[in-house]
Subunit: 421 residues, 2 copies
């Protein structure tokens, strides 16, 4: 692993994959196909892309029960506990409607309402993670969303992975469709004979899914478009190189484009961690993925002091940040940009991926500068409340009419003035 002092041009940023013109065109054609031909288009695309010959899209109750009954009992228990932790954390995010009354009797406020319906996209193949189901569905449940729909591409055998169905059952999702790719996003946004449209689509996916989400954004809401995953470890000599290396590698095994970075003022820690990465790497089942990721997007930055190290972290705005330093909570105070912050040696990042409670859907690729983890607010909306009193009206109507006329909107001014006593 490369050790370097802080470069002038410092960035995690891999280019955002915005697709080729061919991919964009293909996605627009698929969306158009689903809008005109509905279920028939979904079945045809599923045959074409997933090699699955289906005659209906909806997963049956029996399929869910079978998956659940054949699943290892102890893993069901683990998923249940994770679900409990995730639910408990997200409950703290839930906000109530509030109002206040001013001295003239005017009431102003903010009414909180859950979305009516949400579609959760679950990618297929090896990326069909039960933990994704928990992390996308449970905040929506906490928010109070009544209709939660899942879609996922089937295998060539026409089935969805058992783990995904088990996680759906644990979360109480009953409406699941075997459809993936841009066609699933189109169905969720516009509806077909068998799939009612939803108000918002969340969940990760490949480039076609990402392009389709970008395309339907506005007709429905979407979550952020996720990039490859990344971790930054901020550590000093109080941290253990073997543990840092293991955490860096847990990120690197995700994807050849994942990024793992250590930022430290300690040359010694840098060198020992680099050695540990080498020695742990070879022995991993996904060693070739992890190695490519480390070589292309891994780095160890040695800074002149902790202050510079913190600046580097804020510059990178990482998805996951681990802080393993003396006085870690003081360091955390100065962190401005990070999706999730793991503090101390017992807060290894995979604990957050599965179990601790906070969401693992996090802003990637530097977008922690302006984005948040998936959270309950993403599944609710606010409505402003304005209950103007007669006294406020009498005191202010002339000013309001004057403001309207300043902007050249006479009918606005008259709508106010017509109410004067």
């Amino acid at each position: 692993m490369k050790i370097q002092s802080v470069a002038a041009e410092l960035s995690l940023k891999r280019s955002v994959d915005s697709g080729t013109d061919e991919q964009r065109m293909a996605v627009r054609n698929i969306i158009q196909g689903v809008r005109s031909d509905g279920d028939a288009a979904l079945l045809a695309y599923t045959k074409q892309f997933d090699k699955a010959q289906l005659d209906h899209l909806k997963v049956t109750e029996l399929e869910i029960e079978e998956a659940y009954n054949e699943f290892p009992e102890e893993m069901i228990e683990v998923i249940r506990q994770a679900a409990d932790n995730i639910y408990t954390f997200h409950e703290k995010q839930l906000r109530e409607t509030w109002t206040y009354t001013d001295s003239s009797g005017t009431i102003l406020g903010q009414k909180m309402t859950p979305l009516d319906s949400v579609g959760v996209y679950v990618p297929g193949g090896t990326a069909a993670y039960p933990s994704s189901v928990l992390m996308n569905v449970l905040p929506a449940k906490v928010a109070g969303v009544k209709r939660i729909v899942m879609t996922s591409p089937p295998g060539a055998d026409g089935c969805l992975p058992a783990g995904v169905l088990v996680a759906a059952k644990i979360c109480g999702v009953q409406e699941i469709y075997k459809v993936g790719g841009a066609q699933a996003i189109a169905a969720l946004a516009y509806g077909t004979e068998s799939i009612e449209p939803v108000d918002k689509i969340t969940g990760p996916g490949n480039i076609f899914v990402a392009l389709a989400k970008r395309e339907v954004f506005g007709t429905v809401d979407i979550d952020m478009i996720a990039g490859p995953s990344e971790i930054v470890v901020l550590a000093d000599d109080s941290a253990r190189p073997a543990e840092i290396a293991a955490d860096l590698l847990s990120q690197a095994e995700h994807d050849t484009r994942a990024s793992s970075v250590l930022v430290t003022p300690s040359q010694k820690l840098a060198e020992e961690t680099a050695k540990e990465v080498e020695s742990q790497l070879n022995d991993l089942p996904r060693a070739s993925i992890a190695r490519e990721s480390i070589e292309n997007y891994g780095a160890i930055y040695v800074t002149k002091d902790m202050k510079e190290a913190i600046d580097v972290v804020n510059g990178l705005a990482p998805e996951h940040l681990e802080v393993m330093t003396e006085n870690a909570m003081d360091v955390v105070k100065d962190i401005r940009h990070a999706g999730a912050i793991f503090v101390g040696r017992f807060s290894s990042e995979p604990i957050g991926d599965y179990f601790a409670g906070p969401n693992h859907v996090l802003p990637t690729n530097g977008t922690a500068r302006f984005s948040s983890p998936l959270n309950v607010d993403d599944f609710m909306k606010k409505s402003s409340l304005i209950i103007y009193s007669e006294q406020s009206f009498n005191e202010n109507f002339k000013k309001i009419a004057a403001f309207a006329r300043l902007e050249g909107l006479e009918a606005h001014a008259r709508a106010v003035e017509i109410r004067k006593a």
Copy 2:
């Protein structure tokens, strides 16, 4: 104004304008131009589109001072009071960092941090509204955003409207650039020699601005892409037809594509309101705009009872909703989708446009189903905090490792296990 019973196919929805292929291409070329040529491109586009020959983009302190000093003093006072009201309302939205500790000593939480920088786009010409400046800038101020930048296209004389500069000064915005259109959005997203990039862009604009925002979304955050404005009035016989008509017309004068709708169980109210709309319409300075809007997108729906009327309102999910009924607060409880809800006869919608305090940037075109008024959360981001205790670790590491292996991620499992005592 047409009076009709509730149609099967009920919708406010005007098609979202997603631009022609030529417009999309033009916007992509402009963005590319700004990315390669920076300020030179901005000056060239400003000459081409705004007919203004500038040699620098930044508004000088002197220009702001002159606009302020020449502005009517009583209007400055009105804008100041509006700003105070808006600031006070948005302060109630501000949320603090929170944490909690579980019985095993693990601390979980949510850290709140303002964005570093925000760009506010202010449209040019007659749509250059001082109220837009207040509504976009003040929530960012409340959030604690340190750098707030404004851009707006200059007139052919190279100047920005005085009202916009005055509102900017009242809000404490000093960094203002004379640039509009897709080129302004590109500059805010990617930066040029004289404009540092920002983390988020808000504010309304024409189709080129909307397409450019959609294009840069992901590199920076954006607010929703706004459609034409709309109002729904939900009323019974306790309401006054003349006041309803005035409010409907205040919406209709905005734009020929604006939509004004009355929903009522009262045939009498429907008829009287239709008459009032006719008689008030002719006398408006913007009568031709208002008339076209009312003819194309105006409607009066007569329902069989209040329950059906509420269902109609929820189906429309209006940007602005006025409730002028008996027991209005009971009615409001059943409203699920609306950007802002105005209750009672003294809560005429223009009061919310300018003065009451809640934001006037609201979800349009049915997007109140899933979107919220612009608010302080839009200018902050959350970071999850995970401080796992040794006790939690010892109790749970085996489960977490098992979950990781279930998903085929061995390095995740080992990162946890390497910490066991």
